[in-house]
């Protein structure tokens, strides 16, 4: 009865060779891709490669229920990333995990204490009077398209390689133009940071002009040094920027870089800090009812109001650009509004904000730096030596575990174990190659729990073969010859494998979604190997079994094939009795192995 074949099993059964070839080619292609990509070992996690891993958890502030959201987390990540990479390391990773965690991984070789300080503390935010402003680079950057983020938080990376860093005189600077609406009390109005519609040549100002602010009388030598530093500074060079901001004390006159609204760098000489971030009570992005434009409202604390009144009364009498104060975050000028009148308790910053940039500035002002406050949850520092040792131990343990599994399989399944071992091998190669490729692709890093997951997965993978083999042996016990046994065993084994692997995968997926950090690495490996298990069993083990079932060694039930009907206890007259010998509930036999 040549019944119609079922579609899904058609391929594997009728063309096992083709399926085998397919997976082998895929394997070779993946391996080739791995060598081509130049990454031949999986990227190691911080706990294996050595380094520092810091887990930060966002604290929800009272009254700010919705502060912990995706946008704020992303802002925080980019700020922290800027800070840790400002240490001169390019391989630091900052990423969100879960809804309220940020993981900072800093590879070995970094100044760990400094990194911790940079990451853990909220940024320094100061209000400094502006002394001089100049364009950061002589030529407009090729990539100087107006950037949406306004404050240059996440864009500095993109543009810093844009120019080769020629130093020289600035050709133009945006000139602040005090707006007419600056009449009502309690409002600092500016468009210095945003409007660059009327650039006026001011190169002479930066080159020769040496306006000494009355607030900070500096010795001439220091001033000259500062001036030279200012002249030499190239804001488009990332290293120069981090150098210039390093170690600047709030009470010093400082040189700093900042971006204007069109994403172009400008450099500043700034007076000593007059007001710091702690003086700001809160800041909010709102829409000005009169002009309909986005503005940022600031409220100061008691002491902050006084200080702010002092600085604004002084600044409002100055000429541009010295009527500006710069909002300096971690050494970078975030914004430099000009002041037209004395302000006290609260202030409004206006300019050509859009909602995003107003929100960003407000966040910077109210949280110091990060849009959220963070708590250090855990800090792990691992030297490369110990990480290597742990990896070593893990690998030894894995190898021994694998060896035990191999011995067990060989003893129990004899010839069949060859198929199991080949499948395990294919599975291992695929796992390794995919893990390696996932390093550069999605940033997967092999950490210790992931190694553990991979070792545990040996058991899961081996289980699929056991299910399949036991099914085949059951069929043989019922008196069938090998080839039909394989084909009959497969559909049922297939279902069992799929059902149980699904449960396993579900566990891994849930674990991956809800957990953080170390646990995720484990869950990911477990999920990956479960998927690979299905792939290998379907595309490799089954076709291989089909092919080998035609070989005399297996088909004739050689004693060493693991499929010897006699050893399996098959009995000739058993078609009718396969389910029904003896009493239905067999005699109690306590040696149930």
């Amino acid at each position: 009865m040549a019944a119609p074949k079922k579609g899904r099993s058609h391929g594997a059964q009728s063309r096992p060779g083709r399926t085998l070839a397919f997976i082998l080619i895929a394997m070779v292609a993946l391996t080739g891709g791995m060598f081509l990509s130049g990454h031949t070992t999986p990227r190691l996690g911080i706990d294996l490669a050595g380094g520092t891993s810091i887990t930060l958890k966002a604290k929800s502030e009272p009254g700010q229920k919705n502060a912990v959201n995706q946008t704020n987390m992303n802002t925080a990540v980019s700020i922290i990333e800027r800070r840790v990479n400002g240490l001169g390391v390019t391989e630091s990773e900052v990423q969100t995990q879960g809804s309220d965690n940020i993981i900072v991984n800093i590879p070995k070789g970094t100044n760990e204490a400094q990194a911790r300080e940079q990451v853990g503390t909220t940024a320094q935010l100061y209000f400094r009077p502006v002394i001089t402003v100049a364009a950061g680079a002589p030529t407009p950057e090729p990539s100087a398209s107006p950037s949406g983020s306004g404050n240059g938080k996440a864009t500095d990376k993109a543009t810093d390689k844009a120019t080769d860093g020629g130093k020289g005189k600035a050709s133009s600077t945006p000139t602040p133009t005090p707006t007419a609406s600056a009449t009502s009390q309690g409002r600092a109005v500016t468009d210095a940071l945003k409007a660059d519609t009327s650039p006026t040549p001011s190169a002479s100002a930066s080159a020769s002009g040496k306006p000494t602010p009355s607030a900070s009388p500096t010795p001439d030598a220091a001033t000259a040094a500062l001036q030279k530093k200012f002249t030499d500074l190239d804001c488009t060079d990332k290293a120069a920027r981090s150098q210039v901001t390093a170690g600047v004390r709030p009470e010093d006159t400082a040189v700093a870089c900042g971006k204007n609204s069109s994403g172009q760098w400008e450099k500043y000489i700034l007076g000593p800090a007059e007001v710091n971030g702690k003086d700001v009570d809160k800041a909010q992005a709102t829409i000005n009812q009169q002009t309909g434009a986005w503005v940022v409202n600031m409220d100061f604390t008691g002491g902050g109001s006084k200080k702010f009144a002092k600085i604004t009364s002084k600044l409002s009498q100055q000429q541009p650009p010295m009527n500006q104060f710069a909002i300096v975050l971690d050494g970078d000028v975030v914004s430099a509004p000009s002041v037209s009148s004395t302000l006290s308790g609260s202030a409004e910053i206006s300019g050509s904000f859009d909602q995003q940039s107003a929100q960003d500035l407000a966040n910077v002002l109210s949280y110091g730096a990060l849009p959220l406050s963070f708590q250090e949850q855990s800090v792990t520092t691992v030297t490369a030596a110990l990480g290597g040792e742990q990896l070593h131990a893990g690998l030894i343990a894995g190898a021994i575990g694998l060896l035990l599994v191999v011995i067990y399989l060989v003893v129990y399944y004899r010839g069949l174990s060859l198929i199991a071992l080949a499948s395990l091998l294919v599975s291992a190669v695929l796992t390794y190659v995919i893990m390696t490729l996932l390093g550069p692709a999605i940033g997967f890093a092999l950490n210790l729990p992931a190694v553990c997951g991979a070792i545990v997965a040996i058991g899961i993978t081996a289980d699929s073969f056991i299910v399949f083999f036991e099914r085949i042996r059951d069929e043989i016990r019922e008196g069938r010859s090998l080839r039909p046994s394989v084909e009959r065993a497969w559909p049922r084994a297939r279902r069992t494998i799929l059902v149980s692997d699904f449960v396993s995968f579900l566990a891994a997926a849930v674990l991956f979604v809800v957990t953080v950090g170390k646990v995720q690495g484990f869950a990911f490996t477990l999920g990956l190997t479960t998927v690979l298990d299905v792939v290998v069993v379907f595309l490799f083990t089954k076709p291989l079994m089909t092919i080998l079932a035609r070989k005399k060694f297996f088909a004739s039930g050689h004693p060493w094939s693991g499929l010897d009907p006699k050893r399996l206890g098959a009995k000739p007259p058993l078609r009718r009795t396969r389910r029904a010998t003896g009493s239905p509930v067999g005699p109690v036999d306590t040696k149930e192995a």
Binding site: A397, G401, V405, P484, R495, V503, P565, K566, T581
Partner: protein, 376 residues
């Protein structure tokens, strides 16, 4: 091997077997006893929560000549808190100090480096705030509950609600046992333990699902036959998959044991050890519960179903009648049971009438493949 192979064959055919279902009350009792012990242990002794849950610092030093005792004294002097010092297989020390905040750790690290005469850069520090463990634990609970809900839904769809419930009970049983053992033995609960515990979820169910799969297959058309009761078929399912269960568990436990004894022993306490310890305990519990708890529970629940109840009555009545006639229980297999064996086969079975018309007893004796000389 061949003995086990023979045994396997006899188990499949039901010639031998352990009456798991019939003796279920004993095993329920044992499980309840274990569970109570676990709960009492948990209540009395509590869990030995690791540094992740208390907050503190763990320093791992390279090989040092300083003894654990003097290291403990210097650690306590440096921190002002109690310190636990363990020697590692590598000759280094693991110094655990609770109640240290992250700011103070740098200072302790510097002092330790001086006292132990090792370079500061070689000391690994693992610092955790007290809320970190709580976060992990909360996430673990969330994960546990989400997973349980999803798996119950899945099992209820793929199998039936009774199996879903039984699997859930078995799962809770496994977790209770594992946690209880942790409480009783006093193993430290760390993040690694939580990971291991969560993995048991998948593994325990994996095992259960394989048995259920066989049970589902065996009982597909159960109401169309009158030979066996549900419990009897369930028992055969367990026995039939027993060899597989043992093999699977052995194969799963071997690498974990490797991790636990070799990886852990080599490094002393560490994440590898923590994960593998809870996995080891949980895997063993999972294998036990799928055989002794989950399947008997399904049978128990199923026997309450009116249809199955009626079936049991019919079966018993038939047996009584057969006994009266002196007939053996070897009566031809009934149709329903035979069919389920063939129904999802692909049909290239050497052209034999595998999927013959149903209810045709002749197909039972088709003797396909014989006499082929392929078997003795």
């Amino acid at each position: 091997m061949s003995k086990l192979g023979h045994l396997g064959a006899r188990l499949i055919r039901g010639e031998v077997g352990y009456d798991f279902i019939g003796k279920r009350k004993i095993w329920y009792g044992i499980s309840i006893l274990i569970t109570i012990t676990a709960i009492v242990g948990l209540a009395v002794r509590g869990l030995n929560m690791g540094i992740e849950f208390e907050g503190g610092a763990v320093f791992t030093t390279p090989k040092t000549s300083v003894s654990a005792g003097s290291a403990e004294r210097s650690a306590e002097a440096a921190s002002g808190h109690d310190a636990i010092v363990q020697e590692l297989g590598t000759g280094g020390l693991r110094i655990q100090i609770s109640g240290v905040d992250t700011a103070k750790s740098d200072q302790i690290k510097t002092e330790l480096a001086k006292d132990l005469n090792v370079p500061e850069a070689k000391i690994n520090a693992d610092l955790v705030g007290p809320s970190w463990g709580e976060t992990i634990a909360n996430k673990a609970w969330t994960g546990l509950i989400v997973f349980m809900i999803l798996v119950v839904i899945y099992l209820a769809i793929a199998f039936e609600w009774r199996m879903a419930i039984a699997a859930l009970v078995a799962l809770i049983h496994d977790i209770t046992i594992t946690v209880g053992i942790y409480a009783l033995v006093g193993f430290e609960v760390t993040t690694g333990t939580v990971i291991g515990l969560l993995t048991i979820l998948g593994y325990s169910l994996y095992d259960t699902v394989v048995v259920f799969d066989s049970l589902k297959e065996g009982t597909k058309d159960i109401t169309k036959q009158t030979r066996y009761t549900y419990s009897e078929i369930a028992n055969r399912s367990i026995n039939g998959t027993l060899v597989r269960s043992i093999n699977t568990t052995v194969v799963a436990l071997l690498p974990v044991a490797g991790l636990l004894f070799i990886g852990g022993g080599f490094l002393g306490a560490g994440m590898l050890n923590d994960i593998s310890l809870s996995l080891f305990v949980g895997l063993a519990a999972g294998a036990y519960s799928s055989i002794f708890i989950a399947t008997p529970l399904v049978a128990d629940l199923k026997e309450r179903d009116p249809q199955i109840k009626a079936l049991k009555k019919r079966v018993l009545a038939k047996r009584a009648a057969a006994a009266a006639k002196g007939e053996s229980a070897e009566a031809p297999a009934t149709q329903g049971e035979g069919d389920d064996f063939d129904d999802d086969l692909s049909d290239d079975d050497e052209g034999a009438a595998v999927v013959g018309p149903r209810h045709q007893p002749a197909s039972r004796n088709r003797g396909r493949g014989r006499p082929s000389g392929k078997r003795r």
